[in-house]
């Protein structure tokens, strides 16, 4: 049986003999975002996992604040912070197996780092020394995608290819609430469902697309309600509840790996910082809203759960914070070094072999650089 034949899609019979079709009910999301922390479900969660998530959340938060600080020091051109969204970032990385693939959006540096990408290489795009700083194949992390939603069909294609090759690889694709409005979102979800590709779509609904609030982006009951229109399950989860996001993602990944097809997950969260350091968020939202969400901070939510249940003591908290500070110090130090640059790289990777045209241009730049060096030496 080919992959094409495994699809359980519908072909209507003539209306007079209408056939029962895919049942939409199980594809609809719950009325409320799924939560674990502070609920009975928390008791069933693996304490080891919770502690691991906590450690990563603290590291992630520190990474965000450090990277933002680096923009102020001119060491980073721009940083789209995921402060307030660390639960999603970290859970996305931890829900995957090593052989799986992550497709981050431009805001998801942290997910890439949590998956193992070198913290400095992950910032290459935003520092401006190259477009992607890491080898995507090393940790199976696609380049951070700047054009919104365009990475979603890539994830579908990769997952489909893996399945065709008989590999049980899952692709996790991340996108923002704003990105769901793009045609590529639609096409990716549709291909995934038709092909029953092992993909999980994680929408971080952080309330805004730059300045545009969700109410101007969609009129849907929830973004998770889009799933049924493709014939895949839609799940709604509290995006600040790391345990809940991790559980929902893990379930979806398992489902996909088992051949169950794609899932759309909407994680309800909030962008605490401005869109990027270059943005002025006071132009479009009030402090009160931000404060409400600060009270629902993902790090503190998990910390409260862990300390309340005696799974984390002061020493452990201190140790985690120390780790985070050490990471930040290393990051600062490395980012303070100027990256090595070779202007001739402009031509090195356009094609496998530079065309004749590019070789001519290479020579032109080489000559210019030589002249510049000479002038520099002469001065």
């Amino acid at each position: 049986m080919t992959v094409m034949e495994q699809r359980g899609a519908y072909r209507p019979s003539p209306p007079p003999a209408w056939q029962p079709r895919t049942d939409p009910a199980p594809l609809l999301p719950d009325a409320e975002p799924y939560r674990v922390l502070g609920t009975e479900a928390a008791a069933k969660a693996d304490p080891e996992l919770l502690r691991r998530l906590y450690g990563q959340l603290v590291l992630g938060r520190r990474y965000n604040t450090q990277a933002t600080a680096l923009t102020k020091q001119g060491r980073l051109a721009v940083y789209p912070s995921s402060t307030g969204q660390e639960a999603c970032e970290v859970a996305a990385a931890l829900a995957l197996e090593d052989r799986d693939w992550l497709f981050p959006s431009y805001r998801d540096t942290l997910a890439a780092v949590a998956r193992g990408v070198d913290p400095v290489q992950a910032l290459t795009l935003l520092r401006g020394d190259w477009h992607t700083g890491y080898d995507p194949y090393e940790h199976r992390v696609a380049p951070l995608s700047t054009p919104l939603a365009t990475q979603l069909p890539h994830a579908v294609g990769l997952a489909h290819a893996a399945r065709l090759k008989g590999d049980d690889v899952v692709a996790l694709a991340m996108v923002g609430d704003g990105g769901t409005s793009e045609g590529d979102f639609h096409e990716a979800l549709n291909f995934a469902a038709v092909w029953q590709a092992p993909v999980v779509f994680l929408v971080q609904n952080n309330g805004f697309a730059i300045s545009v609030p969700l109410a101007k982006q969609t009129a849907a009951p929830s973004l998770a309600h889009k799933a049924v229109g493709y014939g895949m399950p839609g799940r709604l989860v509290d995006g600040n509840d790391a345990a809940a996001v991790h559980e929902v993602l893990t379930d979806a990944v398992r489902h996909a790996r088992a051949g169950g097809g794609p899932t759309l997950i909407e994680a309800v969260t909030y962008r605490i910082d401005a869109h990027t350091n270059a943005d002025d968020a006071t132009r479009y939202r009030g402090d009160a809203e931000v404060e409400t969400w600060r009270a629902h901070d993902p790090v503190r939510l998990l910390e409260r759960e862990l300390t309340g249940r005696g799974l984390l003591d002061e020493d452990a908290v201190a140790a985690v914070r120390e780790d985070a500070e050490a990471m930040a110090a290393r990051l600062r130090e490395r980012m303070n070094q100027d990256p090595a640059l070779d202007p001739m790289d402009l031509f090195a990777h356009v094609y496998a072999e530079p065309t004749g045209q590019l070789r001519e241009q290479q020579e032109l730049l080489r000559a210019e650089l030589a002249a510049e060096a000479e002038e520099g030496a002469a001065r």
């Binding site: 020394d129 045609g183 590529d184 730059i210 132009r283 210019e368």
Partner: protein
């Protein structure tokens, strides 16, 4: 005698003023795009317009460029004059089908019954340290699409005049705004903004006798700088600012080249398949016997736009322009 109160203004401010005046003058003008309302646009070009004219006249759309341009087509069908903002050059690509297959063709398709007076504002070009997809020079795509006008200002005054003209045009205009000139300044009289320039006329920004630099948008100041520097080498360069790529002002360009006998086309866009090929070819067709040397081109390299730290090597700079001028076979003259 009245004294005119000249005040400094940036190109961004001139664009804002043009939008404001257009909105005030004509109730059918509607501004729309991502973040153009409450925020006033990521470059603040639409700053204050939603407040002044209401969100129905300056609208934050959902994040979908084909949807923005596609709905603008429908609005234009009903008699409105949409002014669409694409947030950055490369983010206009999702709207490419709407642009090429409908915006450019609807008037022709309907024998003139259904013109689409749409202005598509696109901040374009590099030099601002933008990460990938934020610095493309995409004018070649639009030039190759009959049915579109393609316009790009290089001065504060032209930013105002050309944008007013674009909005007033009954044809679709791709209005390319050179990002790195947004904060360039000039003085003008805000009580009497510059006249609305008709679309399609180039202008000689600097007269000269030795050779002509033909350029537009972000490369105009660079060429003027190069022309200054060239004096030291004994070259007196003329600089033509095209302002409009479609329609193309053959008259002004050829008059200059016939006078100087030598020309270099300068733009940021990749050289191969870029606007310079068309420009050089049509000059050669028209002025062959006046040319002392082939028309040369100084352009961005044929590579994807480089990362911020390398862009200065890609962009046509004064030295690269002068090197090209030096290759204009001056020996042949003597």
């Amino acid at each position: 005698m009245t004294t005119v109160a000249l005040k400094p203004a940036t190109m961004a401010q001139a664009l804002t003023r043009a939008l404001r005046d257009a909105l005030a003058a004509d109730p059918s003008v509607h501004v729309m795009g991502e973040d153009v309302g409450t925020l006033g646009g990521v470059f603040r070009v639409t700053d204050g317009l939603a407040k002044e004219f209401g969100e129905d006249r300056c609208t934050d759309t959902p994040l979908a460029e084909a949807g923005i341009l596609g709905t603008a087509v429908g609005m234009a069908m009903y008699g409105l004059r949409p002014v669409v903002e694409m947030q950055f050059d490369a983010f206009a690509y999702p709207a490419f089908e709407q642009l090429a297959s409908h915006v450019a063709k609807m008037r022709n398709r309907t024998r003139g019954k259904m013109p689409l007076p749409i202005t598509v504002r696109i901040p374009y070009g590099g030099g601002i340290g933008g990460v990938e997809h934020h610095s493309d020079s995409s004018e070649a795509y639009y030039m190759a699409t009959p049915g579109l006008h393609v316009v790009t200002p290089a001065t504060v005054a032209d930013a105002y005049g050309l944008l007013r003209a674009a909005i007033a045009s009954d044809d679709p205009v791709v209005f390319l705004e050179p990002k790195r000139l947004y904060w360039s300044k000039d003085s003008w009289n805000p009580d009497d903004p510059p006249a609305v320039e008709p679309i399609g006329r180039a202008v000689v920004r600097r007269t000269g006798r030795s050779a002509t630099l033909i350029t537009y948008g972000p490369s105009v100041p660079v060429c003027l700088e190069a022309a200054e520097a060239a004096r030291a080498e004994g070259w007196d360069l003329e600089v033509v600012d095209l302002r409009s790529l479609v329609p193309f002002d053959d008259e002004t360009v050829c008059a200059s080249v016939r006078r100087t006998g030598r020309a270099v086309v300068v733009h940021e866009s990749n050289g191969f398949g870029g606007p310079g090929g068309e420009i050089a070819a049509r000059i050669t067709e028209r002025c062959f016997h006046h040319l002392e040397a082939p028309v040369l081109r100084v352009a961005g390299f044929d590579v994807p736009y480089p990362p911020p730290m390398l862009e200065r090597h890609h962009l046509p700079g004064v030295d690269r322009i002068l090197d090209a001028v030096a290759r204009l076979q001056w020996e042949a003259e003597s």
